[in-house]
């Protein structure tokens, strides 16, 4: 081996180690930053791409039960790419899906409104108390989460049914003489959603209200504002980020809610979660079910991204 060659090897080895060293530092930094992105990619983006891909195929009696988009045969030397938009066209043509989306959005909107109404006083109280009382209130909000969600919905069935606790109590007090029909109604669905999603509303509200500068309220009082005026002019606008975050956290899952309407609602409650179930299990049409899911995501995500965007700009300004 010649000396020049050895020098060259040494040189490139030095380069390599430097390169490696450089890379290692970068990689460490990269890995810290990339964790959330990796999370999003694995648990949101990849599943979404899979669902989107299925929505472009057609149903078939096979394993898996849809036609492949990409098909190739090396012996006969062909590759075919077959994308079907028929599912999306069918979604547009048939007004059934539109009314299912609209009625889901209506149910979710009404429930979100009532959740906000119930959650605000709770969060307000939590933010205004101190020390152990606050810890106790916080625990009370979070504690129900320790019980299975399904169990809590079943508990509501026990309360709301015809010979359930509420009816029995009201009857024995003589307030009503016929049991109230509460189960299998939209009312029961609203109760179920408000109850289940309450903590998702309380916690963001609480964190917004807790950060509030109390001297602002004193100043308002000094300047002659009545309590309700200072609430609407100061507290509410300052709590707005919490209100928006809480409403989104409740509204988004409520639109796709399947279990609560299935257990508490009547047969006539038309929601998109149920439509998805029917497409998937009764029609065995995975592509159509995927199409319904993709459209739901678009309907939900686009306006939300717009809201977040405008919020971001406000924050920067």
């Amino acid at each position: 081996m010649s000396a020049s060659k050895i020098a060259w090897i040494n040189d490139s080895y030095a380069k390599m180690t430097r390169y490696n060293f450089f890379r290692r530092v970068n990689w460490g930094r990269f890995s810290v930053v990339s964790v959330p992105y990796l999370w999003l990619a694995i648990f949101f983006f990849i599943p979404f791409v899979v669902v989107f891909k299925i929505s472009l195929s057609e149903a078939a009696i096979a394993v898996p039960p849809y036609t492949p988009i990409l098909d190739w045969n090396l012996e006969e030397a062909y590759v075919t790419l077959k994308i079907s938009l028929s599912n999306y066209l069918f979604l547009l043509e048939d007004d059934f899906y539109l009314s299912a989306y609209l009625s889901s959005i209506k149910v979710a909107a009404i429930s979100t409104f009532f959740t906000l109404l119930v959650a605000f006083p709770i969060a307000y109280l939590m933010a205004r108390t101190e020390g152990s009382t606050r810890a106790l209130l916080l625990a009370l909000v979070i504690l129900p989460f320790w019980t299975s969600f399904l169990l809590r919905v079943y508990a509501w069935m026990g309360l709301l049914k015809k010979n359930g606790l509420i009816n029995e109590t009201l009857m024995s007090l003589g307030l009503i003489d016929q049991p109230l029909i509460m189960m299998q109604t939209d009312f029961a669905v609203y109760i179920g959603i408000v109850y289940t999603y309450l903590p998702f509303m309380v916690l963001p509200l609480y964190s917004a209200l807790e950060k509030m500068d109390m001297t602002l309220l004193e100043a308002a009082e000094d300047l002659g504002a009545r309590p309700y005026q200072s609430f609407f002019l100061i507290t509410l606008p300052l709590a707005m980020p919490g209100v928006i975050a809480g409403c989104l956290l409740v509204f988004i899952p409520a639109v796709g809610e399947f279990v609560i309407p299935a257990l508490l609602g009547g047969s006539d409650t038309l929601m998109i979660g149920r439509v998805l179930w029917d497409e998937f299990f009764l029609n065995r049409d995975w592509p159509m079910a995927s199409g319904v899911a993709v459209v739901m995501l678009i309907i939900l995500v686009l306006p939300i991204m717009l809201i977040r965007n405008s919020q971001g700009k406000e924050g920067a300004a």
């Binding site: 394993v63 006539d268 998937f280 009764l282």
Partner: protein, 363 residues
């Protein structure tokens, strides 16, 4: 040898042993919930030394979704006839090697013959249990509203004059479009398995007239609701309703539930043991199926779950309250009026699902 190496080696050998075990000593069963006598599994494990992993589902749709996704890992599954019929088209079941089944002769040949409409020549299935879809009712509540009459009629749920009287005490109907529509079409006097739009419409008209009197469409709630008196009439599976009956007796609240097979004729269904084509342990699967075919095993299951088993050798071993219960083992005359539901085409399924949603939501 370092500790680390020793650990790695022992883990490796454990894995190898596990694999060897998996070849012939494990069996993965996927069956309906509450559908077997628990001791039957323990006895099978003791007799054969095969470790059973027993999973349960509560709807054919869930089973189908798992099987159609592929690679379910199950060795024995129990689909209902019409579902097996369609799944066979996708080629997801392997043929059953009947030479390995020493107890095959115990099967009730007349019933097996009926199943060949789902599976030509019955090459892929061994029947597990069978039953009917019929009427569960709260005897006292219905009598109080309708007076003394025979309650073995679909008028209880399909005749608007009758349902109007029963509305206040609650009517529940299975949320199962294919089954309920077949019964409604039969009630309307057309072929229950017809796929023509006209016949579907006739069935739908039956349901539209009475829909407002129904409390709900649901495939599971009626069991506890019948037992508690929350509904007084339900169209459901015979075993479920008999389960409601015994629950009501246990509760001792004076609720008296009874089951009737409607005289207009109704659905007979068969749940069938089948082996998925990608089953990892087909040998063990055959042994299990042969074990189920034993008269004593089948009788134990029938006595426990209150469904009929198509097993001649089981008959002498059945409890008196099971074999003499016409809701479980109906007479030949009643059996003659029962019809099996065929698998539908995808086109008809789509039409049926939409019709069903429209009926349910009153659109």
């Amino acid at each position: 040898m370092t500790i680390k190496k020793a650990l790695t080696l022992s883990v490796c050998s454990a894995l190898l042993a596990g694999n060897a075990l998996a070849d012939d000593k494990v069996l993965n069963i996927y069956n309906w919930s509450d559908y077997i006598e628990p001791e039957a599994i323990t006895r099978f494990e003791q007799e054969t030394g095969i470790k059973v992993n027993y999973d349960v589902y509560d709807s054919n749709e869930v089973l189908e979704a798992k099987l159609m996704a592929g690679g379910s890992g199950y060795d024995v599954v129990v689909p209902t006839g019409a579902f097996l019929e369609r799944q066979l088209q996708a080629g997801i079941y392997s043929k059953i090697d009947k030479s390995k089944l020493s107890n095959l002769g115990n099967l009730d040949a007349a019933l097996v013959e009926k199943i060949s409409s789902h599976d030509e020549g019955n090459l892929h299935n061994i029947p597990y249990a069978w039953g009917t879809v019929g009427l569960g009712y709260n005897v006292d509540a219905v009598k109080a509203r309708l007076g003394d009459m025979e309650f073995d009629t679909l008028d209880l749920i399909f005749n608007p004059e009758v349902t109007a009287k029963l509305k206040d005490c609650g009517i529940g109907v299975l949320d199962s479009p294919a089954e309920v529509m077949a019964i409604a079409q039969n009630y309307a006097g057309v072929d229950p398995n017809s796929e023509s739009k006209k016949d579907l419409k006739k069935g739908a008209e039956v349901l539209e007239k009475v829909r407002g009197d129904y409390k709900y469409f649901h495939s599971g709630k009626y069991i506890s609701d019948l037992a508690n008196g929350d509904v007084c009439v339900a169209l459901g599976y015979n075993g479920d309703i008999l389960q409601a009956q015994s629950r009501a007796e246990e509760a001792g609240q004076g609720v008296n539930v009874s089951y009737a097979i409607p005289k207009e004729g109704t659905l007979i269904w068969f749940d069938l043991l089948a082996i998925p084509s990608d089953a990892p342990h087909p040998e063990a699967a055959h042994r299990f199926i042969d074990y189920i075919l034993q008269g004593d095993t089948a009788a134990g299951i029938s006595n426990y779950v209150y469904y009929a088993v198509p097993n001649k050798a089981a008959e002498p071993l059945l409890n008196e309250d099971v074999i003499s219960n016409p809701g479980i083992y109906p007479s030949e005359a009643v059996k003659a009026k029962l019809f099996a539901q065929k698998a539908h085409t995808a086109r008809f399924d789509r039409l049926l699902t939409r019709t069903w949603v429209n009926i349910k939501t009153g659109r």
